[in-house]
């Protein structure tokens, strides 16, 4: 049985997973304004219910063994070895498909409620957010449907975040080939088609790996190549190469700042 508290966690996890960086208990605790032990406790419960995956043993050991690396380094390499351990000593939280579904439903109800509260009742954004935090837990699927219908199936909440559809599908999360991107659009590589392992490896050595942020700077017309930026480097990618790089649309930068801060303050 899922409690309101658990729902809060799922929602927070979902939102954090849309941001950059690994999903750690520390970040979650910060986001919710609670102590890490509380978070760990809740994570265990969520895991028991199959909403999240956290006890990744292989990754978990990294911290312990990474420390040993320091002893190995001596002389000039010492500092280097020490820093090597830190980089990957992290345990990440993942939402399971079940958790994703639950979280998306909540996000949908929250954002629909916000729309309703601001558009229909005329509340200010701040209050609408506070109220919506309570409403999201009590809406039944039926009310949710009617609400969406009445509002004309809006695509975004008042803050500009996308509202998932009934199936929990979020438009912005769509994965499309890089060649379908527009100029100045940012995204994150989801995968590279695997029919060509050579291409995949070559791109990997250049740093064009899945989960890498990529920005389209310019597109030559008439099926010409794309100019993309990855890290500090610009690459020209032919259309046919770009069509094999499936990319997730990144959340637009401007929107992120305000929205998250507002929600944090509300807690």
């Amino acid at each position: 049985m899922i409690t309101e508290k658990m729902e809060e966690y799922l929602e927070a996890l979902f939102k954090l997973s849309c941001e950059e960086g690994p999903l750690t208990p520390t970040r979650l605790a910060e986001h919710l304004g609670v102590t890490p032990p509380t978070v760990l406790d809740m994570l265990r419960r969520l895991e028991a219910e199959g909403y999240v995956r956290y006890a990744d043993t292989a990754m978990g050991q990294a911290r312990g063994r990474g420390g040993k690396g320091v002893e190995k380094g001596h002389g000039k390499g010492e500092t280097g070895a020490a820093s090597r351990g830190q980089g990957r000593a992290r345990r990440e939280i993942f939402l399971t498909p079940k958790g994703q579904r639950a979280a998306r439903t909540l996000v949908r109800r929250h954002r629909l409620s916000e729309r309703f509260l601001t558009d229909v009742l005329g509340l200010d954004w701040e209050s609408a957010h506070r109220e919506a935090c309570r409403m999201e837990h009590v809406l039944s699927p039926e009310v949710e449907e009617k609400l969406a219908e009445m509002l004309g199936n809006p695509e975004t909440c008042p803050h500009g975040y996308p509202i998932p559809d009934q199936n929990g599908h979020i438009r912005e999360e769509e994965i499309k080939p890089l060649c379908d991107f527009c100029v100045d659009e940012k995204g994150r590589i989801a995968r590279v088609e695997e029919e060509e392992p050579q291409l995949l490896q070559y791109l990997a050595s250049l740093g064009l790996l899945p989960e890498t942020d990529i920005e389209v700077k310019d597109i030559a017309p008439f099926g010409g190549p794309l100019l993309v930026k990855v890290g500090d480097t610009q690459y020209a990618l032919g259309r046919e190469v770009a069509s094999k790089i499936w990319t997730r649309k990144g959340p637009a930068k401007a929107r992120r700042g305000i929205g998250w801060k507002g929600e944090k303050r509300a807690r």
């Binding site: 990957r88 050595s205 046919e240």
Partner: protein
């Protein structure tokens, strides 16, 4: 074919105390540093893939002889592309005492990837942090000492183009080579689960196998096997114990793939990028600049389609203008100098000393040949090389590659191939070697056929010195346009006819750099040197030989069989066709010989208009056309043979000869209408 430089390296090794290898990403200034260190002439340019084979040189440092290997620029040491393979072979088989990894301070994170791979291979590494001046200017500051500490290798900041820091770099490398045993090489450890597998595999390799290929460390081999490196998998499968190791490594790689949902090779690449990125982030500080630098802004204009295309057209226009005007001015200057100071007096002197016999007259031909070098070939070559140098060093060719990708696609190539095609305008030989960056044989065959058809500087000199000088600017432009159409047509045709598809473009784009005048001039001189030392003597000797044939009357016998082809089909004098045949040695020869022929055939006239008394404008046009289209010179032929093999080379050569004769004949027919 790949053994040759390696054998050379072995020979060099016997004469030197240490061998250093220069490695780095493309376009980080490796060749510039190589030139600075060795004082040798290696072509550099602001685009990737200039050094495909490696360059070798011997230099002296503190009284010690050191062999230097310039490896091709590469992003990684995998087995997925030719440049990577050549670099890897250079390191594994060449076994340098020290690898000097040159890093671009502007893009440290990506550049460190390669350095990490060298550490994985347990190569003693010294890092040069190059282009620091540029990085500082754009607001990126690097803590060199901290970087050195993190990496556990000496790091020296350098500015290759000015030579800053290179002495220190060489000293550090020498110190490392001398006390190699004292320096531990500590590869970075990967994520624990990966690292533990690497170590397990390494232990098993150590236990089961004796000598490892290339004297690799067990850990290095373990990583290569987990990456499913084809070269090493194949090498190990041949041994009994090796096959077992391969199977073991395979099961490990599958385990990793299962756990991470990605191939082990990708995981390792990701790890390396991660390590490189976090090191770069912690040693570099950067200030965001409000305004983009002039280079970046200009660059934006040249790659965007709307402004890029007009700019490209304007640049082409400027190039031609400089060639027509600058080359023409220089040519008449040289010509006056020659007539008054050397040519005329020399001829009189020869006649007064030796009397007027067949031999003397042949010698006069040789003197005229030297004059032709100076008057016709040299001025245009000089101007052309300076322009090419500026285009290369500024990085503008990158923008051209980007803009032309679509068109090149139609020709069965991609944008990157445009760079060898443009450098083919300098000389076909390095351009042919440059096609090695292309990944499929189909692409290489198409690219090489097109390269051979692209008029190289020698042919440009023939067109400029012949057609433009005697027949006028418009015919010369028409000829260039015709040649351009021939290249396009050949590409379209080959793309249709040859089975297979073209692959895609993946190319790093570099921002503009201000070209250094000194560098451009140096490069022009290096290219010109080749002409002065090789072509000029050939032309003089060829002129003498032709003179001998002519003066002794043998020429009639030689030209009789080719008369119908020359006079009936091409409409040019048979001796002119003979000159064309000679031009197989060097393309400049064709025009030089023709001018000499004209000067001698019409006695009494030695001014610049003499060629027009010998041939009509139309004939000169046909002559230059045939000269430009038929087989490249013997040097190109040889390098083609090496790259493509005999059959393809003969096919390319044969078809260009036929095409040249066909086009020449058609041009004759069309011109006859006027």
């Amino acid at each position: 074919m790949k053994e040759k430089p390696l054998q050379q390296l072995e020979r060099i090794r016997e004469r030197v105390e240490y061998v250093f290898a220069l490695a780095g990403n493309p376009n980080v200034g490796k060749s510039t540093i190589f030139n600075r260190i060795t004082g040798m002439g290696v072509m550099t340019a602001n685009y990737p893939g200039m050094t495909v084979e490696f360059n070798l040189a011997v230099t002296e440092m503190d009284g010690r002889r050191i062999g230097i290997v310039d490896l091709p620029g590469t992003y990684a040491l995998g087995a997925v592309s030719e440049d990577q393979l050549v670099a890897r072979r250079g390191v594994l088989q060449g076994r340098p005492d020290v690898v000097i990894v040159i890093l671009d301070a502007n893009n440290l994170a990506r550049n460190l990837y390669l350095l990490l791979q060298f550490l994985d291979l347990r190569c003693p590494v010294v890092a040069a942090l190059n282009l620091v001046d540029q990085a500082e200017r754009s607001g990126t500051h690097t803590d060199v000492e901290l970087l050195s500490e993190f990496l556990g290798v000496p790091v020296v900041p350098t500015v290759g183009i000015r030579g800053d820091g290179l002495d220190e770099l060489m000293h550090q490398a020498l110190a490392l080579a001398e006390r190699r045993e004292e320096y531990p090489i500590i590869p970075f450890s990967y994520a624990t689960d990966i690292e533990s597998r690497i170590r397990r595999l390494a232990r098993r390799i150590e236990r089961k196998m004796g000598d490892l290929p290339y004297g690799l460390s067990p850990r290095a081999l373990a990583i290569l096997l987990l990456e499913e490196d084809e070269e090493f998998l194949a090498a190990l499968r041949e041994q009994e114990t090796g096959a077992e190791i391969v199977a073991y490594a395979g099961s490990m790689a599958r385990e990793i793939e299962r756990e991470h949902g990605e191939k082990a090779a990708l995981i390792l690449a990701r790890e390396r990028h991660g390590i490189a990125g976090s090191i770069a982030a912690s040693v570099q500080e950067r200030k965001e600049r409000e305004k983009a630098r002039w280079g970046e802004r200009l660059w934006g204009y040249t790659t965007s389609f709307k402004s890029g295309l007009p700019i490209a057209v304007a640049v082409m226009g400027l190039v031609f203008l400089a060639l027509f005007w600058g080359g023409g001015e220089l040519a008449s200057l040289f010509s006056r100098f020659w007539e008054n100071v050397v040519g005329g007096p020399a001829q009189r002197w020869l006649e007064s000393v030796l009397g007027a016999g067949t031999w003397t007259r042949s010698l006069v031909w040789a003197v005229d040949g030297l004059g032709a070098v100076l008057e016709i070939a040299l001025p245009y070559l000089l101007v052309f090389y300076v322009i090419l140098g500026v285009l290369e060093d500024s990085g503008y060719l990158n923008s051209i590659a980007f803009l032309s990708d679509r068109v090149m696609h139609r020709l069965g190539l991609h944008g990157r191939a445009v760079i060898p095609l443009i450098s083919a305008m300098g000389c076909n030989v390095p351009a042919v070697m440059g096609t090695r960056v292309l990944s499929t044989r189909r692409e290489r065959i198409i690219a090489n056929t097109l390269i051979v058809l692209v008029p190289c500087s020698a042919r440009v000199a023939v067109i400029m010195g012949g057609v433009s000088r005697y027949a006028g600017v418009l015919p010369a432009l028409a000829l260039f346009a015709l040649l351009f159409a021939v290249v396009l047509g050949a590409g379209l045709f080959l793309n249709k006819v040859m089975p297979g598809e073209s692959t895609g473009l993946v190319m790093e784009m570099f921002p503009f750099r201000r070209p250094s005048l000194l560098n451009v001039l140096k490069k022009a001189w290096m290219r010109l040197k080749d002409f002065v030392y090789i072509a000029a003597p050939l032309i003089v000797a060829g002129s003498f030989l032709l003179g001998l044939l002519y003066e002794s009357g043998w020429i009639v016998k030689l030209t009789t069989p080719i008369k119908p082809l020359a006079e009936w089909w091409l409409g040019i004098p048979a001796v002119a066709l003979l000159a064309l045949a000679f031009a197989f040695l060097r393309k400049e020869l064709a025009l030089a010989l023709l001018v000499v022929l004209a000067a001698q055939a019409i006695p009494g006239i030695a001014e610049s208009s003499s060629l027009l008394d010998f041939m009509t404008r139309g004939q000169i046009f046909v002559f230059a056309l045939v000269c430009s289209v038929y087989i490249p010179c013997v040097a190109t032929f040889a390098v083609l043979w090496k790259e493509l093999g005999g059959r393809a080379t003969l096919a390319v050569t044969g078809s260009t000869v036929l095409l040249a004769l066909l086009l020449g004949g058609l041009a004759h027919l069309v011109l006859a209408l006027f």
